[in-house]
Structures are given as C-alpha cells and as structure tokens.
C-alpha cells in the first residue's frame, strides 16, 4: 500500500516520498541537517523562527497566516530538532489532500512553494534579515531556553543527557545557550544562514497521494534547485561506551513537590546503525516499554512507588533512559528497584509470555506508525540523519526471530552511566 522512494535532487538534497492513497492530508518537510552544538547553535535555533516571520512575497505574519488559511488551514511550523548528534532545522507542514475540497487544485504545489520560499527567499531589508524580526526572535529564543525548566517531567531527562554526555555533542541542547542567544544580531544571523544553506544536507519529505515525480517537479520549480558550493556536512553520531570509573549520581533541588528520577545507560553499542538494535528494542520493551513491562508491573503496580516508570531506547545515540516521578523520600528504594529489574533481565528471568508480548507490542507499534504521516516523517528523518534507510516493515522482520539469549545479551551489555535525581524542595 505504501511505497517509499528516495531520490537525490541535487548536491546534498534528498527527497523521501511515501506514496499512499489512504490519507486525507499530506505531510511535507523541508529540513536542513547540521552538526549539533558549536558556536552557531543558538543562531541555528533562531533561524527557522526568523524565517517563519515572513518571505519576500508574504513579508509579515498576517500575510503569511492569510495564505495558510486560504490553503484550507495548512499548517507550517518552524522546527528545531535533535537527531542523534545532528541538528535539524526547518519547516514541517500538514495540509489537506487537494482532492478533498472544492477549488483546492494546486494546494500541494502552493504549500511546497511556501515551504521553499521560507527557506530560500526570506524577507530581507538591505540584504539582511529584518532587524525587528531578529530582535523579537532572539528574545523568544532566550525565553524558550529559560522555559525548558518549567516542565519537570521533560527537564529531568534533559538534565540527565547534559550531565551524562557533557563531553559529547549529544550533551548539547538543540537551542544553544542563553549567552549565545544574547549575542545574535541581524548580521551574525544572516551569515549563519548563508553558512547553513551552503553546508547543510537538505532533507525533503512528502507523504500523500501525489506521485514522486510530480512532487519532485514541484520542488524543482522552487529556488531549492539552485547549485551549491562548499563542503557539505555529513550527518553522523558517535556511539560511546560507558566511561571508566564509578557511576555518577547527581542530586539537584527544584521548587517542585514530586521528585523526578532519571537513569542513563549506555547500550554497549546497539544503535540505529550498530550492534543489534532489534534485540535491544526487545529488551527495552520487556524491561520498561509497555504497561506489561517489568518496570510498570513492579515499580508502579507492585510497589506503588510512582505513576510512571518507563525505559526508552535512544537508538540514534545508543542510550537507554529510565524516567520516573516519585516521592522524594523514595529515591533510593525506587533506584534500587529499577536496577533490580534490570538485573533480573541480565540473569535471564524473562518468561516466554514476556518475550512474545514484547515482540507483538513492537510489531503493533511499527505497523501503527504506517497510519500516521507525522510519525512517518519523524521516523524517516531519524533514518536519514543516521545515514540509514531501514523501513518500519524491515524493523518488524528483524524482531521476528530475536531469541531470549539475544535479549539477555542486550541486557548484559547495558551499563549504568549516570543517575540524576531532581529533588522536590517545594512544600
């Protein structure tokens, strides 16, 4: 039903098309792939937001918003993402398929035009970005960085990454730092924009009914087709082993009531491109990937220690993260129980039922992905950033014959690196 094609349209410009008749909407993406971190980090995070303020033709939010409404409420959002040790910046759109509304002919071409104008034909004043837009978005970026702490549930794993990977690019935030953001000017931002356009891999995506040739033709009719000079960035991520020495344990106070516990593990090599990711997914699912996993059944259901306790396999970087929200006084008890459940996996205490349930859960998850164009976009972006092109269907095949021994081996290769506890200090 779904056909995935990938084509290079020019130097470092790739188009992934998922062709399917089943959706009433189309999802599109134009994204630049660049290294994560570095001096340009805040500039790059600021860039899509400034570009989103207006194009040469539609030069303010009102004009741009009107155009979107007229395209039957098409949505175009600036995106800043971290995929492994790569930074992806650009635009994501979803719009109705043009066959579903009267007078909507050419809607997809219209959206492609807007997406490419945002990236390649911005609103400029005297050859630079509009100073008011830059100033506004610099302020917004500073606010966004400061706001990362507002939601404790997402802050704890973020802080864990920062601590665990402090000597790796992965430890850097996709948004850069407040100090970097404060230094942004129209000049530095425009220069960063030119550098990004010349260095980045460009990842385009379309999911919908239109045939790939036609999608390609629409993209090629935009300024995207201009030739590029300079050395292109090759996306990559370094998967590291756990550093020697003791496990690092960091406790920090926060003005919240519930403690947040995050444990960071190294997979021992399993990642999107290395080791045995299929076995690792099986292990992670058995350990903490569903409501029948060991963490859910024991840390939550049996011991009533938390509302949530789950494990996530960060395949783009070869990490596994366990997150939970607990009573402050239960830090040691919860940590020990989480590690005890891992030990049971290592010792092979995995039943046939657990093994089969995990396999089915994974298969169900990947199949379900085929029904959601936004999830597919994210999936294929992750693949492209990792330099691999394994489809969800292939992932399903890979878990089909994973054995208990392989799962145990995955558990045994897992090494605890850092424990972070955000202690609630509020009354």
């Amino acid at each position: 039903m779904q056909q995935v094609t990938r084509k290079t349209l020019g130097a470092g410009i790739n188009l992934t098309c998922v062709t399917t008749p089943k959706f009433k909407r189309a999802v599109l993406r134009t994204m630049l792939v660049l290294p994560l971190g570095g001096e340009d980090a805040a500039l790059r995070a600021c860039l899509p937001q400034v570009l989103r303020r207006g194009t040469a033709r539609l030069n303010d939010m009102q004009a741009f918003g009107t155009a979107l409404d007229e395209l039957y409420g098409a949505r175009i959002e600036a995106a800043v993402r971290k995929e492994g040790e790569n930074l992806c910046i650009g635009f994501l759109s979803d719009c109705i398929d043009e066959t579903y509304a009267p007078g909507a002919d050419g809607l997809t071409a219209g959206v492609i035009g807007l997406l490419c104008d945002l990236l390649y034909d911005p609103y400029l004043q005297d050859g630079l970005f509009c100073a008011a837009y830059v100033e506004g978005e610099r302020g917004n970026l500073i606010d966004r960085i400061a706001a990362l702490k507002n939601d404790p549930r997402s802050w704890a794993p973020r802080r864990l990454n920062e601590l665990m990977c402090e000597n790796e690019n992965y430890g850097k935030s996709a948004l850069g730092t407040i100090e970097q953001a404060e230094r942004i000017t129209p000049e530095t931002l425009y220069a960063a924009y030119r550098r990004a356009l010349s260095e980045a891999q460009v990842e385009l995506f379309y999911c919908g009914t239109m045939m790939p040739d036609e999608v390609e033709a629409h993209f090629m009719a935009t300024p995207l087709a201009q030739p590029r000079e300079g050395t292109l960035y090759q996306p990559h991520t370094v998967v590291q082993a756990r550093p020697a020495g003791d496990v690092r344990e960091v406790v920090e106070d926060a003005e919240v009531t519930q403690g947040k516990l995050s444990l960071g593990f190294r997979t021992g090599g399993a990642s999107l491109t290395g080791g045995e990711p299929a076995a690792y997914w099986m292990f992670q699912t058995i350990y903490g990937g569903s409501t029948s996993a060991k963490l859910f059944l024991n840390v939550r259901e049996k011991k009533s220690l938390c509302y949530y306790a789950s494990a996530q396999f960060v395949a783009s970087k070869g990490l596994m993260i366990v997150n939970s929200g607990i009573e402050n006084g239960n830090f040691e008890v919860a940590r020990d129980e989480i590690l005890h459940q891992l030990d049971l996996c290592r010792k092979g205490e995995i039943t046939d039922a657990e093994l089969e349930s995990a396999r089915k859960t994974l298969v169900n998850g990947w199949r379900t992905m085929l029904d959601d164009p936004l999830t597919l976009e994210r999936y294929w972006m992750g693949q492209a950033a990792a330099g691999t092109l394994v489809s969800p269907e292939e992932r399903i095949e890979q878990v089909a014959d994973i054995t208990r021994e392989q799962v145990i081996a995955a558990a045994q290769s897992t090494a605890l690196d850092t424990v972070f506890f955000m202690k609630g200090a509020a009354k």
Binding site: A74, N150, D151, A353
Partner: protein, 420 residues
Amino acid sequence: MIKNYSALHESMQTRTLANGLRICYLPKKGFSKTFAILATDFGSVDASFTFEGKRYDTPAGVAHFLEHKMFEDEDGNALQKFARTGASPNAFTSHTMTAYHFSCTDRFEENLKILLKFVFTPYFTDENVEKERGIINQEIRMVEDTPNWEVFVGAYEGLYRNHPVRVSIPGSEESISHITPELLYTCHRAFYSPKNMALVVCGTADFEQVCRMAEEISPKDAPEIGQRHYGERRAEVHQPVVTRKMQVSLPQCMVGFKDEPVPAGESRLRRSLIGDLAVRILCGDTSPLYAKLYEKRLLGRDFDVDYSLIPDGACAILGGESRDPAAVREALERETARLAQEGIEPKLFRRMKNALYGMRLRMLDVPDLYARQEIASVFAGEHYLDFAGLFDTIHAEDVQEMFRRWAQPNRSTMSVVEPK
C-alpha cells in the same frame, strides 16, 4: 444504519442495542490499525448525583479513581491481557467522560472482548483500592507540578463558582483519601449502565460481529442512570483573576470567557463549530490580533485557543506564556467588544471558515481523535461527520452573537501562574 458522507469520503454504521448501548463503526480503508473506544458519559463534573433515591456528593477525583481501578478484574489485570496480543490499551478521564480504549493491528476481536469485559465488570477490594491510592497520589503530584495544568485548573476556578468543573480532574490527596470500594461500586452502578455508554470502532472490523459481541458481554438490563447536579448556574464569572505561584521562567496565563450553555434541543456540534471559529477569529495563530500581540512579544507560539462545552456550561479559553498577562487580557477583551459591535469582516470570516474545515477534515486521518470526537457527539445525540453539513448553516452573525455574549460585563476571567 449506514450513513454515507460522500463529500468527506467517509461512511459509518450505527446501532443502538436493546440495553441502550450505542455502537458506531467508522471504517478506515487501508489503515493498519483499528482503534476501539468504550466510554461512559460520566466525567469529573458528575460528582454530585441522586441515585436510587439517595443524594451523593462524592469526593473530588472519583471518576478518575474509578478509571484506574476498572482495569483490575478477579482474574488479573486487563492491561496484562492486552499485552498477550500486543495491543496498546489506555484510558482517560475528562471533565465530561471516562473512556477506555485500545489500538491493535491484529486479533481485534480478542481485544474487543477484553475491553468489553473489564469495563462492565467492577472488582474493587480494600486492598486494591489502597494500592491504587499510592499511584494516583503520585499522578496528582505530577500534575500539580505542571504549570500548564495548574493554569488550566485556575481558569475554571475563575469561571465557575459552583460547577464541579472548577475542581481538578484527579482530585487531591485529601479528597481521594475518602474513596472506598463501596463508593466506586455505587458510581459504577449509577453511570456504567449501557444506556449511558457508547462504543466506537475506527479502522477495520466486522460491524455485525462487533454488535454481537457487545450484545453478549454488556449487561442485559440497563439500570437507571444517576441524576446529576451541577449547582446553581450564574451568568457571571466567579473571580476576575486567579493567581498561583510556581517554578516558571515567565508567567503563564489563560483568559476565559464564560458563555451560555447550549439549550436543550440545539445542536452542540454546531455550537462547538461556532465556538472554534470565534476563538480562531479572536486570537488564533492566523488572526490579526495574534500577529499584533506576537509582534509586541506579548504572546508566543505556544499560545492556544479552545472552546469547550460541558454539561450546563460553555466557555472559551485562550492562553499561553506571556510577560504581561494583564495586557493580553485587555487586548482580548477589547477585540471581543469590537467584534461584538462591528461584526466580522467577510473576507476574514471566509478564510477562517475554510481553514477550520481543513483542520476538521485532517483530523479524520487520526483514528484516536476521530473516534473521540464521535463518541462526544454520540453522547449529545449527534454524529461528528455532520460537521460538514452544519458548516453551511453558520454565518458571521452567529459568531458575532457569541462575541456579544462574551462581551457582557463580568464574563471574563484570567488565571495566571506567576514565577515564584
């Protein structure tokens, strides 16, 4: 009954069983997954009711507590039964409903059986209720630490004086300490009657088989439903401002406009379309006011607008992060008054209507959301897909009329979470 919606390329099959359970099937051709949701028209707002001749004023959070406990059966936990098939089960409690659902790509009927069985079979003991209290206490702490949630609760506190919607859905540690197995059984009897419930399946299924299974597993008799009490209604808001202090980098605010409830006999779906149009015209992300406030850095990309219907009430809530909540509120009130007086510019109205149509259409691709919308419509005696036809009956004057109601004195409130 089969209904075709050719303009939307959708169809549906519906039936009401003898016991009153309403069933609706929304086929999604080509989709791998099938989503099923079984819900009761019983949410956090249904806290006070009369049942079997007795008045109950239940502790806050009982509907949500019941949701947690339903998964447990004498022969084990339903979550573990779903695990055998690889299905992905979950549940939620909103102000207006409690819903149990799963999605699967395989063994649909087996999963449907698990769903129907556990939702219609209560099993509560002192021990399992006590155990759940610990888990829910952690959930309550989690949401109480979430500024987005707290600012939302504050908005309802400001809008309503008596209506139970002003109380946080999971309740508090104190309120749930009073919940007992007996109370849970009473709520189940009072509101999990088939005639108060609906089943919606979206994906690929055999409709006749779904009906047969529902008939077989749901109770034959349908007890009377509890009579709910929402307190004395007031047209004005309860408090003009509600303030909390939390660990946030910038203030978070939500401005609420109190609307009149939908009168009996009027389409709730049509009202919600008018409400969605109104909030988008007022300050949706493509509106003139949004652009103006964004350019002044009074609001950001997280600013969101919503119109909601609750039993015996309706309101619009608009909000996000802002360095000056009072200025945002003032601008929203001023724009509401202007739109109430001057009406909506025809070009703006047309494009907003276009956009809303596109958004509603796109949602039909998301079985979870589509089925959720359908179940809410079924509880109101309507069908979600009728939105397309209702669109043509909505005119700028309808939206202006809504703005007129919002623009009356004492119809707005503001909830703010300020940095500590």
